[in-house]
Symmetry: C2
Subunit: 408 residues, 2 copies
């Protein structure tokens, strides 16, 4: 017998049929003798409907009241999932975020979880009941309802799992797990049996869409091991956990790509203090998210800065930089290029293995793929390539690091 | 400056336009310098939608979870009304029943209000904010959401008014107030400026649909004076209050009618103890609501019982009485009649005025209207007449008691 926390997202409870399906899945766990707590999101589409309602009466819906409104979505789904389980004869109770003791603070619509008082959840679990908890919501010190923002239900599930000391926390979603690469791009991509928090965080930061980083960070902070798996079948998914020694034997855990990147380079910048701040400040003021940053001094003694961003931001970036360029002096010029892709490899094995970058660049070079910018972190290497070559690049690197074969 | 509690029902907040209209009305009170708390129902139709959702996943929706589901309707409307007021620049906050300290007990889906802790409501009012409270819902000792059943939002409003010691409690609805008779039946019916709790309770019990009796009883218990008025105009409505001396100068406050009544009479009942219990017990077991009961001993020494019920129940009543009749012995026979109307007059003035019944019967007799059964209470007289004459009967009695003219 295990204490299992599951989380079902909006798609998984997006229709009455799917709600009945979730109830069947939960019942199967109970029949097997497990204690189960389930965190659910609002039914798919409901949150958008509620947002549309708010727009009908408010040009700029106030956040405190948005939380009151949005939290009804999860409140409806917990009652419906509970009813579906009771219909199957499984003793079940629903709990709102507030009732489940999920205490939050910070800004409405994007609050953070401070702590969970699991007294009531534990009481019901000990009574042999399944507990259905509303995700995405909690209550602050003043007793006000707060929602957690994007990925909030995952966060709720991790927090509930931590608070009840669950044996297993399963994030049930519409993907099967975490793959060595996007299977739509790399045909022989493999589902990973496990991955460390840090690797998943790095992969998420470079385009792999599995979970919001904040939920992974929260799990890491509280040491909650969780599994990402499909709500549509019973296949094992990917365990996300603390790194351990045997993980380091694999050099690269996965490959991730981002498309539609653009590069801006400013050349001929006088090599004086404050120039970078001037440039990046103008971009920040224009609320342009820049990604990779590469700076160096060219042979002519002037500095050059290159940075990448999403292609959609390129026009605004050029506009924002125009006045800055004049300030930098007559030598400064701006160059830009769209149609860039970014390829990243991630793995904690990089810490103990040398030559990873060389191996990657060699493989790309042998395939005739030119590398533009390069950035690295302790467990990640990212390069830009021509966007038309990004899928080839992913496949070449995937094979070069033997990701198509299970580790020995 | 006054402290005003208003209640708007589902129709009054039934569309985004109406929500904006409510916001304008509340703003006008604030501009006039009043403190305002507003109790709102779910948007019209929403409760039915939620019920339909529950039916999709449950053949017999459990009441605890129905409360979790249904309470989202009011939670949505408080947030939307609050947003609409903020949009008009009026500082406003929403409170769920739980946040407003509305403590309940008893059965889910029809809980009772035990008490209200108005601390938070008072705090916001003192800060100069309008407070929008979710009607129909509260929280029990265990922290579970409970709903109050039919008329629950009126009850919430009366309770909030009591707890904050409001100067005025206005129940805004789709009728203008309480009338001396149904204006669709009696053309010269007048809107009453005031009525006592007991009179409204008696009128409600005999067919006048203004408010659920439990809300009036609650108001009476806690001495909350309230006004029933229209949400569509600014006309004064009817004040419902403790009775006071000048009220007794009016003999009859109002006239009410009920249609589609049926009568069952059992004759030839042996005059022995337990016979009535036998008959009424059989009807109670069949869940038939009986209304008027008249019993007496006929000249032949046998007892006879007559009772009225809704016509829809007549068939079931006859079926339920069939086995009883056999038990009562060979003399017992059953007679029944449908197509009956019931006319009632109500007024606390009856206590101090004699001859009211005679005056009523004389007027009906002069109009050629035959009277069937008669029952009386301290402040009410009810008679049955042929249903085709019920409207005439109402007009005749209305005129006989000068209800078409304002009291001197």
């Amino acid at each position: 017998m295990a204490l299992i926390v599951q989380k079902y997202g909006g798609t998984s409870v997006g229709s009455f049929d799917r709600i009945r399906n979730v109830a069947q899945r939960v019942k199967a766990l109970v029949v097997d003798g497990n204690q189960v707590a389930v965190v659910v999101s609002a039914m798919g589409g409901v949150t958008d409907q509620l947002l549309a309602m708010a727009k009908q009466v408010s040009s700029n819906p106030p956040e405190r009241e948005m939380d009151v409104l949005l939290s009804t979505g999860e409140q409806q789904s917990i009652s419906l999932v509970t009813m579906a389980l009771l219909e199957l004869g499984v003793p079940t109770v629903s709990l709102t975020g507030s009732q489940a003791g999920l205490h939050t603070s910070g800004t409405h619509t994007r609050a953070r979880i401070d702590n969970i008082d699991a007294t009531i959840t534990n009481k019901y679990l000990e009574e042999g009941k399944v507990v259905i908890v509303a995700g995405f919501q909690g209550v602050n010190e003043e007793g006000l309802i707060q929602t957690l923002g994007r990925g909030g239900s995952d966060l709720s599930a991790i927090a509930v799992a931590a608070s009840v000391h669950a044996d297993v926390c399963q994030i049930l979603t519409d993907v099967d797990g975490v793959y060595t690469a996007d299977p739509r791009v790399v045909k022989d991509a493999r589902k990973l049996p496990e991955i460390s928090y840090d690797e998943l965080l790095e992969l998420a930061s470079v385009g792999t869409k599995v979970m919001q980083s904040r939920s992974v960070e929260f799990a890491k902070k509280y040491g909650v091991k969780f599994e990402v798996r499909s709500s549509l079948n019973n296949n094992p998914g990917t365990i996300v956990t603390e790194e351990h020694d045997s993980m380091e034997s694999v050099v690269i855990r996965g490959v991730s790509i981002e498309r539609s990147q653009a590069r801006v380079t400013i050349i001929g910048i006088p090599d004086e203090p404050g120039m970078s701040a001037r440039i990046l400040g103008a971009l920040a003021e224009a609320e342009i998210n820049i990604d990779m940053i590469v700076s160096n001094i060219a042979h002519d003694g002037f500095a050059r800065h290159s940075f990448t961003m999403h292609t959609n931001d390129l026009g605004r970036a050029q506009a924002a930089l125009k006045p800055v360029l004049a300030d930098l002096g007559p030598t400064a010029q701006i160059e830009s290029e769209a149609g860039i892709g970014k390829l990243s490899v991630v793995g904690i094995g990089m810490r103990s293995h040398s030559g990873v970058a060389a191996q990657m660049f060699t493989a790309l070079g042998a395939a005739g793929i030119n590398i533009g910018m390069i950035t690295t972190s302790e467990i990640k290497i990212s390069v830009t390539v021509d966007e038309v070559q990004i899928e080839d690049a992913a496949r070449v690197v995937h094979t070069a690091f033997n990701l198509d074969r299970p580790p020995a």
